[in-house]
């Protein structure tokens, strides 16, 4: 049995996919609107057995995010969260038997400020599976890759519709856990329509990648899941869930779960 969290995550995604389930990756902004609600949401959605959970640590200037997540970040920042508290939170979940891998989504300044080596140390201690850093392109990832090397942490990188074949290959070589394909040229946010060439593009990226490929940005309905499931190893749903939290606040945990359940069940039916 390996303790390599990236490898475990890869296996978990492959296993879900192979067994005909929908490998869903729900995104939630931590502390939106408070930590108690976030915790309840996590326990609720864990019941639906997602592939992993992307838990956003809020940053004041989220350039890759659309209005929905921007607003969630504003709500979350009112709690003045620290990364220390984030690790403690993840750790407390693990101690109470939370079994779904948790990835932290945050911007590079938060990690840079905390100290990259300290980030790795505290991640390993807390049980966090790894990180997605949307403003860290592979060119700037030298320090990050060197401190995470051999740690077994998932270091998820993103590729986009504008990435060339050479870049996709280069990025998939350093990505661990999965490779994140950004479906649109743009920012996060639920969309009615996805790009027409998305399924072909996904197949193209999957051929170039030796690890599972997850698709995200804009996915918001069971129809999207159904359309993309044959062409992706996992699917990220973010803004559609965050919208429920925005609307329902502290009453959102069960409703978020219902939505996740609908995506998983209808998507696989």
């Amino acid at each position: 049995m390996t303790h390599n969290r990236a490898l475990l995550l890869e296996r978990r995604i492959k296993h879900l996919k192979a067994s005909g389930q929908v490998p869903l990756i729900p995104y939630i902004t931590c502390w939106d609107p408070d930590l108690e609600t976030t915790e309840k949401i996590l326990w609720e959605i864990a019941e639906e057995n997602p592939a992993c959970i992307e838990l956003g640590f809020p940053f004041s200037d989220p350039v890759a995010d659309g209005p929905t997540i921007q607003k969630a970040v504003v709500r979350a920042l009112k709690n003045k969260p620290t990364l220390e508290e984030f690790f403690e939170f993840v750790s407390s979940l693990q101690q109470r038997g939370f079994s779904v891998p948790i990835l932290c989504m945050t911007y590079y300044n938060i990690l840079y400020r905390y100290g990259l080596e300290r980030v790795v140390r505290d991640s390993l201690e807390s049980g966090l599976a790894g990180f997605i850093i949307p403003d860290l392109p592979v060119e700037e990832a030298g320090s990050w890759l060197s401190v995470t090397r051999g740690s077994g942490l998932a270091t998820v990188f993103l590729v986009t519709p504008t990435s060339s074949e050479a870049r996709i290959k280069r990025i998939s070589r350093v990505s661990r856990g999965f490779l994140y394909y950004v479906s649109v040229t743009g920012i996060t946010g639920a969309r009615d329509r996805l790009p027409e060439d998305l399924t072909q593009r996904l197949e193209f990226v999957r051929r170039l990648s030796r690890i599972p490929v997850a698709v995200g940005f804009g996915i918001s309905s069971p129809e999207h899941i159904k359309l993309l499931l044959p062409h992706a190893d996992a699917l990220v749903v973010g803004s559609a869930l965050v919208k429920i939290v925005e609307k329902e606040g502290r009453n959102s945990p069960k409703k978020v779960r219902e939505f996740v359940k609908r995506l998983i069940h209808y998507g696989s039916s």
């Binding site: 350039v63 920042l77 300044n109 840079y112 990188f157 990435s163 040229t185």
Partner: protein, 398 residues
Amino acid sequence: MGKKGYFGRFGGRFVPETLMPALYALEKAYTKIKKDKSFWKEWKCLLREYAGRPTPLYFAENFSKFLGRELKVYLKREDLLHTGAHKINNTIGQVLLAKKMGKERIVAETGAGQHGVATATACALLGLKCVVYMGAKDVKRQALNVFRMRLLGAEVVPVYSGTQTLKDAINEALRDWVTNVKNTFYVIGSVVGPHPYPTMVRDFQSIIGKETRKQILKKEGRFPDYVIACVGGGSNAMGIFYPFAKEKGVKLIGVEAAGKGLDTDFHSATLNVGEPGVLHGMLTYLLQDKVGQIKGAHSVAPGLDYPGVGPEHSYFKDTGIARYVAADDKEALYAFQVLSETEGIIPALESAHAVAYVISHKDEFPEGSLIVINLSGRGDKDVASVKEYLEGKEPYDA
């Protein structure tokens, strides 16, 4: 420059993957035109015939006498340029480059509106569509500049996210660029952002320092002892510093906004009290809290109101090539009036910070020092808010 796109340990291109190919394309296009004499000829011709270059290097005799101690102060008159500030040097350069790259649409951010007006102007001149992002608070407090941009044919989009000021306008312009990268060119207004912007904007603004070198040699037969400029993002300062950076006898002083005081939360003195971090695609000094959340910035001068600074300035600070100091709101307001009264020149509140430093520290300059101040912009845009300040009102909230 060591590692590509870096000034020492500062700079880089910390942007979403979507933009990386666009930054490479921009770098390639810029490297190409950098060697293209016809491009620079066209740019220089526009700056001369249209924008009013070269700007005078004016000996401010009355102001010098006001200071005493035989100090000799020259003002580099960027305030006389078309649209009222140095910003036009850069926007004509970038919009010209965008046109050569076949882009149809320009996006820009603006804080006070000066860069937005300069971009809208260049777009009107060169026939490109222009969209300017501006914090909703700034839209309110700079209503005249919003009208100016609209007159010039630009679309002004208020930004309601975050602090609703310049930093959020940059975020939104970046988001637009991420979404429309195929046909859109992002014209950044200062020596900030991901590589190659800090280098490119510096190159366009260096015309200020290049002219100053020639002019001061002609007038004084020697280089100045001090070159002083205000620093927000830092483009006017880098423009005048860079051509002097290798002259050992020339001391470079950048003046940041101390706002209501460096010991308060209301200032923009990034290099004085900030710490390194990553924002808007660059590793540089930032105003941030312990967690790494970016703080709001404050200054009476809206153009200095930015929690980051160009990465090359961070490098100049760490290596001692330049020294960075600060002047507060009150000092700037005083300098605004002194220069108006002694010379008949109403400076932009931003530029007034550079003047203020010289006034407040006049006794520290050796007697007879030769000083050049970059008067980066004119103060027409500020007279209404200064009036309110002097009448004891806060014209806008911080």
